[in-house]
Symmetry: C2
Subunit: 217 residues, 2 copies
């Protein structure tokens, strides 16, 4: 193998780490569990990635660029399709959410684990501020700018609190806790991302519209 493509074990470590970190969090997983799950020695993780924290970061980084690109493409495409007035709230929310759904249909089951890991990090008071901003904030600001153009009466406070609501609804869905399965008696399932987004998009769009409507001041 030519030095750049020895994917099997290195990639396997990332896959297992991704799955375990998403389920138990950073501190709930040991390097030995990861190595055992990947069928390799403990020291191999250190050899490839250095410290445990570096492995965590590597898992986090691996799919971030692809996800951002897919979202940015979706946003720009819907902006291009919309006329001079720009896309509607629904179209922008859709561009924000649908790439996540598509990521799950690539056949790579790792995407589900990765998105659950994002949910863990985004909801953590410790990891959230430390890891989310650097990779995701720039694109989020692009989406918020697009929303501002679609909602010309919105204040900054409105937009950011509404985005917080969107981000929270999305995060809980990505976390795949299976709570909705039990609550609904099996009528809804956490696995069904299509149903989740089909309900989330009109829900969130209506929320934005309501909050960002002109009011008496």
């Amino acid at each position: 193998m030519s030095r750049k493509d020895s994917p099997s074990k290195r990639e396997k470590i990332l896959d297992v780490a991704e799955e375990l970190f998403a389920l138990h969090g950073y501190d709930g997983v040991t390097l030995r569990q990861i190595a055992s799950g990947a069928g390799v020695d403990v020291a191999l993780a250190s050899y490839h990635f250095g410290k445990k924290l570096d492995l965590f970061q590597a898992v986090f980084d691996r799919r971030a660029a692809l996800l951002n690109d897919a979202r940015r493409d979706a946003l720009h495409r819907c902006q291009a399709k919309a006329g001079k007035r720009g896309p509607s709230v629904e179209q922008i929310i859709e561009a924000f959410l649908r790439p996540l759904e598509l990521a799950q249909e690539t056949g790579d089951p790792g995407w589900r684990n990765y998105l659950a890991l994002i949910a863990y990090i985004n909801n953590s008071p410790y990891w959230g501020p430390r890891m989310m901003s650097k990779l995701f904030d720039a694109l989020v600001q692009e989406f918020i700018e697009a929303l501002r153009r679609a909602l010309p009466e919105a204040t900054d406070e409105d937009l950011y609190w509404c985005y917080n609501n969107l981000s929270g609804a999305l995060t809980l869905t990505l976390a795949q806790t299976g709570r909705i399965d039990k609550l609904s008696g099996g009528r809804c399932t956490s696995d069904d991302f299509e149903a989740a987004y089909d309900h989330m998009i009109p829900f969130v769009a209506a929320g934005f519209r309501k909050v960002c409507k002109k009011r008496a001041r």
Copy 2:
């Protein structure tokens, strides 16, 4: 002291555990950190609570009944005030959220940590299914029933997915990650629960209305 009221150290352990578990999760906190923060020996936690997991459960249980009572009171009070047609969506959502805000104004700063802990548990694929249902599901079903009466055209799927959106938006807010502070350049702050709920209530209510409106079938 008469055996039932030696609150100082036992309660202090719960307070510190609550704060640390909320910040770092179950596995991210050691009993020694908790004991150190409480100014007691490590063994005292075991003496009072048994295993580490039992302490975690004790922290989780401590305020659950109070929270449920406050929410149930708020729901029944708004149902009593509303006529025979029942309360509006906004009133139900308000009954679901405002007690959380009030809990923070009791002067006990532990409530903030407790709600952040709930957010951690609710968003965790591991802890969520294990701990949330037993204490919270019954009341959640009451709220969903009330919402069903306010939204007679809603299907079960609509209601549960919308509740999922509500729960997610709430969870991210309770987690107090401070991300909205940075995103908004300081215009919004995670600490401001009143502002959060002021935006969340109309947002969520509009979402419910939109999704649960009669459609072509």
